[in-house]
């Protein structure tokens, strides 16, 4: 028999006390991990979405910023237009390396001519595009032809032969992008030519035609030359296009970030309170347990246990309970976040992407450490107090 087995015997012999301590550890670990998973998942998702856009600045018509963020983040279809001539005006500005226009379109709601209702679609200009095209060349090996599309990770063909119906027009799904956890995963990408072809044929093939106003675009993606001050270019764009708004990619999704920060602060306060209360409760339980076991621990000292042994046996017990509760809490948190991630995305209105395995293991380790730290911290004072007590006093009534 050793200190570990003694602690295990004691844990199994005091089920109520062990249950309370484990439950506290479970709550601390589960709450901390699920919050971290959601927050980091959202942040990760935003970062990937910005990376996927690949632009330093995105120019949209004034007043359309929120619509665009909703479209990119949550896949809520957005339609807004500005003159195509804006592309030339921006390309002539100093510090601008490349510009590429995009059209933001959407499928019809509940129409049989569209395989998916209210799907956000992005049309790009292959001649100037610097975001989709490089990925295509790398992943597919060549450009998209007329009638071919690239889908977000959730887009799949249901009608055989990789065909998807858009305004009665059958497009072929060439490839899927890696998931980002944002609205981009439910979106579809194709060239301007395909967009115009769909629009021209939609008048006879669809329940309602797809309308693209002449000489209009939805947004302009801007890439600046390396070393250029983004704010200076942004100011130039504002001066050149008074009816448009340049959004720096680093400032993208600001309203979502602010909401997330607000939510994060609230959650941190709740976690702090939960943690504090848990530590207090565990401390109280351990104090009561140590007091209740004073005689028993005094007997151990009389039988030859050192102060250190008594101290270590209490902390071993605490660590085992923390591990048991923490591991259960972590398993529950991971399972619940995984199972209900879509519900959480919808109810919280945030994008979310499950972390990579190494990141998940790191977060699990942090959660487990937090549970171990909290329970040991709570047990520390009672353990020190009882281990320093005179054995004769401990054994006295």
């Amino acid at each position: 028999m050793n200190i570990f087995q003694l602690a295990l015997k004691n844990i199994s012999g005091n089920s109520f006390r062990s249950g309370v301590v484990s439950l506290c550890a479970l709550l601390v670990a589960a709450f901390a991990l699920s919050t971290t998973l959601l927050m980091r998942g959202a942040e990760n998702s935003l970062r990937l979405a910005i990376g996927r856009l690949g632009a330093d600045i995105i120019v949209v018509p004034s007043g359309s910023e929120a619509k665009m963020e909703s479209a990119l983040l949550m896949g809520v279809p957005a339609r807004f237009w500005m003159p195509q001539d804006n592309v030339n005006k921006i390309s002539g500005l100093s510090g601008v390396e490349a510009v590429s226009p995009q059209l933001y379109l959407a499928t019809l709601t509940g129409a049989s001519c569209c395989s998916v209702s209210d799907m956000f679609m992005i049309a790009f200009d292959p001649a100037s595009d610097f975001t989709i095209q490089p990925w295509l060349n790398q992943a597919v090996g060549n450009d998209l032809r007329l009638g071919e599309v690239v889908g977000g990770s959730y887009i799949f063909a249901t009608e055989g032969d990789q065909n998807i119906r858009v305004y009665g027009y059958l497009v072929t799904l060439r490839a899927n992008l890696e998931p980002t956890g944002t609205g981009l995963d439910q979106s579809m990408f194709f060239t301007f030519n395909t967009a115009y072809d769909i629009a021209s044929k939609s008048a006879i093939q669809a329940e309602e035609p797809l309308v693209i106003p002449p000489d209009s675009i939805s947004a302009i993606l801007v890439k600046v030359t390396p070393g250029t001050d983004l704010y200076a270019v942004s100011t130039q764009i504002l001066q050149a296009l008074p009816d448009a708004t340049p959004i720096l990619s680093s400032n993208m999704f600001q309203s979502y970030r602010q909401q997330m920060t607000g939510l994060l602060k609230t959650i941190l306060v709740i976690i702090g309170i939960t943690w504090g209360l848990s530590v207090l409760l565990i401390g109280l339980v351990f104090s009561m347990a140590a007091n209740e076991r004073r005689k028993e621990l005094g007997v151990l000292r009389a039988l030859g246990a050192t102060r250190r042994f008594v101290f270590q046996s209490l902390l071993t017990e605490a660590s085992l309970l923390a591990f048991l509760g923490g591991a259960t809490g972590i398993a529950l948190a991971v399972l619940l976040v995984y199972l209900f991630r879509k519900l959480l995305i919808v109810s919280l209105g945030f994008p979310f992407l499950l972390p990579s395995l190494p990141a998940l293991f790191f977060q699990i380790a942090v959660g487990l450490f937090l549970a171990l730290f909290s329970v040991n911290l709570a047990a520390l004072f009672p353990a020190i107090k009882i281990s320093r007590q005179d054995p004769a006093v401990a054994m006295r009534e």
Binding site: M1, N10, K295, E296, V299, A302, L303, T306, F309, P391
Partner: protein, 226 residues
């Protein structure tokens, strides 16, 4: 073997008040004797026993075990000495409720033993056989009577082959028949193993079991050879 030299022990009562449990006691316990300390409740018997084993620090005076001042030793050295040289039998139920009878008996070996694990196991079985509980290895203390529990405590006290047994009112919670059985067991141990026994009791009738007896009152030895 154990020598108490002008030993006193005060306990604080709060608000600056103290109670002196043991006053300037001088006592020599020689190897092989069966010393019984009698006295009424509160006379300082248990405190004297605890002082003898280093379970509480004297307010003044010295406690020597085999010529070594116990309070010159570190906590680890004291613990080793207790584990190797002293066996304890307490007045209150002192078995760990979460451990079986066998596990309780081998408990002192967790803190140090000179025996191998096989020897530990064999000795525990033999000791339980000797106290008449050879069939109760796997049961828990709550499944035993008070007398049986005290027998297990005696087996546990003997586990590390101690030089001295310290027994604090070991029969106070037992009925008269069981009390005599336990006292007979102590006498057998003393006679067969030559083990030194220091026992405190408030029952004068038990004095006849010892080779020497002293009486305590108000923290002093008032009767008997010191």
């Amino acid at each position: 073997m154990i020598t108490l030299d002008e030993v006193s022990k005060d306990y604080p009562l709060g608000r600056g008040n103290i109670v002196t449990a043991v006053r300037e006691v001088n006592l020599d316990i020689t190897p092989g004797e069966f010393l019984i300390i009698v006295g009424r409740s509160g006379s300082g018997k248990t405190t004297l026993l605890n002082l003898s084993a280093g379970l509480t620090r004297p307010t003044s005076g010295n406690v020597m075990l085999d010529g070594t001042n116990l309070w010159d030793l570190s906590d680890r050295q004291q613990s080793t000495m207790r584990s190797q040289k002293i066996g304890f039998i307490f007045q209150f139920p002192s078995l760990l409720p979460t451990l079986t009878v066998f596990e309780n008996v081998v408990l002192p070996t967790v803190f140090g033993t000179r025996q191998s694990s096989t020897q530990v196991s064999e000795r525990a079985r033999q000791l339980l056989q000797n106290v008449g509980l050879g069939e109760k290895l796997a049961v828990f203390p709550r499944q035993l009577s008070a007398g049986q529990q005290q027998r297990v405590v005696i087996a546990r006290a003997l586990m590390n082959q101690p030089e001295v047994l310290l027994a604090d009112e070991p029969t106070s919670n037992l009925d008269e028949k069981t009390e005599l059985e336990i006292m007979d067991l102590f006498r057998d141990l003393h006679l067969s193993m030559g083990i030194t026994i220091l026992m405190v009791t408030h029952t004068r009738q038990l004095v006849s079991y010892g080779t020497r007896a002293i009486e305590m009152s108000a923290g002093r030895i008032v009767n008997g050879k010191k």
